[in-house]
């Protein structure tokens, strides 16, 4: 009676099994569908700010730290430690310092790059910078008074930048000096890389020959940029900074003009990243290196550093990490989303709670901070950029 049934069923199941084995549609990673491209913010950049603030309250850390670092900063003008030293320095000179480093990077780019870069640079309210000669001629037609090509902000022409800058100022020292530089460098380099990839097709010919030479040059270039940044940050006169930047820019321009190749640039970038990641004792650099959109789909670059810092400053005001968390060397990353009006959308959710007795407390404290400090003042027109945020709370940086 079971005569036809059992073989049929067996064959059917074997076929099903084979289908599962060989042709079963693999579950796709959910990243595309679910993972929101969160704007990553790190709390490191505010370290200087918070130190300053703490210094006003207790006066201790500042005395300890500030002089030492200030001393170091001028000494080490060689640029190797630019990130660490400069971070401690007071913010005021920063605005100048910020624009300078990218300039050298952006400028050297050959014509193709110029074609891309026309994205309106944000007119920075910094007075000392008014030298328009730096930017590429292409930009001249644009009405911007300060055509400093800042790779980070490049994509969007912000007419309301001044406002944001003010906002940042309001928020409190939202602009830590040097820490901004590294991200910018990396992003500028990213941009360069993109550009170079495009250029690569055209100039594939002169690839390998110049590689070594370029690596060396790249290091020099970077050092120059860092130096420029540091000098500027170190309260050097604005003129000086500009001069430095110009010099660096010239150098870089010469180098890149000589050879434009994707591979060397990649090497350059990785150099920078490595240096950023490993070259400093503080966690700041490592984190800065990680700045960037995880999926790269959304332009994090839409947020200017000062805007990001403004958000950081707003959050940080309310953050009171559990005692002992700083010593425990733990940090927590929270993901949250914001509404258009800057209020918190839903509750912040820790991406991974550190495995530490204080881990949960730390995550809670970060959640509390996020909830208490809302609504946040953010540039409304960049809502897409700060709609979803990934914030890393490192208690080490607040003290």
């Amino acid at each position: 009676m079971i005569r036809p049934g059992l073989p049929t069923s067996a064959v059917l199941h074997v076929a099903l099994f084979a289908w599962i084995l060989f042709a079963f549609p693999q579950p796709k990673p959910l990243e595309d569908a679910v993972v929101v491209d969160a704007m990553p913010i790190e709390f490191v950049p505010v370290a200087a700010t918070s130190q300053i603030r703490l210094g006003q309250k207790t006066a201790k850390p500042k005395d300890e730290i500030a002089p030492k670092d200030v001393k170091q900063a001028p000494k080490e003008t060689d640029g190797t430690r630019a990130g660490t030293d400069a971070r401690e320095e007071p913010p005021p000179p920063m605005p100048e310092a910020k624009p300078t480093p990218p300039v050298p990077e952006a400028k050297p780019t050959p014509p193709q790059k110029v074609a891309e870069l026309p994205k309106p640079p944000e007119p920075k309210p910094e007075p000392p910078k008014p030298e328009p000669p730096k930017p590429e001629p292409v930009k001249a037609p644009e009405p911007k008074p300060l055509p400093k090509p800042e790779p980070i902000k490049a994509p969007e022409p912000k007419p309301d930048l001044p406002k944001e800058a003010e906002k940042a100022k309001d928020v409190g020292e939202g602009k830590p000096p040097v820490v901004k530089d590294p991200p910018k460098d990396t992003q500028a380099l990213d941009k360069l890389l993109d550009d170079q990839k495009k250029a690569d097709e055209k100039k594939a010919a002169d690839a390998k020959a110049a590689a070594d030479a370029k690596a060396a040059k790249a290091a020099a270039d970077k050092a120059a940029a860092d130096k420029a940044a540091k000098v500027a940050a170190a309260k050097a006169a604005a003129d000086k900074a500009a001069a430095e930047a110009k010099a660096a820019a010239d150098r870089a321009a010469a180098q890149t003009a000589s050879t434009a190749n994707a591979k060397p640039f990649a090497g350059q970038i990785s150099d920078v990243l490595n240096k950023n990641a490993t070259g400093s004792s503080a966690g700041a650099q490592a984190k800065v290196a990680s700045l960037g959109s995880p999926t790269g789909k959304l332009n994090v670059t839409h947020m200017t550093q000062s805007e990001t810092d403004a958000l950081i400053g707003q959050i940080k005001r309310c953050w009171n990490p559990p005692i002992g968390a700083a010593e425990a060397a733990i940090k927590v990353t929270l993901r949250f989303s914001l509404n258009q009006d800057g209020t918190l959308n839903g509750s912040p959710e820790p991406i991974q709670t550190p495995q530490h007795p204080l881990g949960v407390g730390l995550a809670r404290s970060a959640q509390r901070a996020l909830i208490q400090c809302g609504p946040y003042r953010m540039p409304a027109d960049k809502f897409a950029a700060w709609q979803s945020v990934e914030a890393t709370f490192d208690p080490k940086d607040i003290f």
Binding site: I2, S9, H13
Partner: protein, 238 residues
């Protein structure tokens, strides 16, 4: 209980999540559950296929037999052709009744008195046997259909249990650590449902088919019984 489970849970995130790898990384209890459910599915489909063929064949056979039976052909001839072979369904019913009729007329004194009751009994027995044949194994379908979701659920609960033990062992609550174990565990329920859903549907359809065929046999038995009863009465009167 399981360093290995914890290991597996930790190692799992980078593993490709094919169904097969999920099966292999599952706990042994979950594996047994999955294998049992898989074989239950095989069995259940075997029964379904059998029954479908059987019912199809029986229905065709009944159609043919009824056609012949009501065509006016001599029942003696029909009996002679059918008696020699093994019959199922309606022919079996007919042959059983005719055999009883024949036997009652064989001796010198025909035993016609309670022949009607005997024929009815014989046909009842035959109908019962045929309906049993129709319905055999249908209860297996019902059992698989109703119990395999629970069995799968058991596998899932067990798998999730071990997954949580792995979490406890690794002290890591990241979703990436939990997910593979839970996915494995859920596979058990999926297989249970894969086995149960066809079983339930097929049980409902096949049992109603079996009922319809049984009813058809009953109808034929009544009709044939009426014919034979008329014959008996005529002979008694004669």
């Amino acid at each position: 209980m399981n360093p290995e489970v914890a290991q597996a849970a930790l190692a799992a995130p980078h593993v490709d999540m094919t169904l097969l790898s999920m099966f292999w990384s599952a706990h042994i209890v979950v594996k047994l559950v999955m294998l049992g459910l898989f074989s239950a599915s095989v069995w259940c489909w075997a029964i379904i296929v059998d029954k479908l063929f059987l019912f199809m064949k029986t229905r065709r056979q009944m159609d043919n037999f009824e056609q012949v039976f009501w065509s006016g052909q001599s029942l003696e001839d029909l009996y002679r052709t059918l008696a020699s072979r093994a019959n199922h369904g309606m022919p079996a019913l007919f042959v059983a009744a005719m055999r009883e009729w024949k036997r009652s007329h064989e001796g010198g004194r025909p035993a016609i008195g309670s022949l009607q009751q005997r024929i009815d009994k014989v046909m009842d027995v035959t109908i019962g046997r045929e309906v049993d044949r129709f319905q055999s194994n249908l209860l297996v379908l019902a059992t698989i259909g109703s119990s395999s979701p629970f069995i799968g659920l058991f596998g899932t609960v067990w798998g999730i249990m071990t997954a949580f033990q792995g979490i406890a062992a690794s002290k890591n609550t990241s979703l990436a650590v939990v997910a593979p174990g839970i996915a494995e565990a859920l596979l058990a329920t999926a297989i249970g449902l894969v086995a149960a859903i066809p079983a339930v549907i097929a049980y409902n359809k096949l049992s109603s088919d079996a009922g319809a065929l049984g009813g058809r046999l009953e109808t034929f038995a009544d009709e044939f019984s009426a014919i034979l009863s008329r014959q008996i009465d005529e002979r008694q009167a004669a």
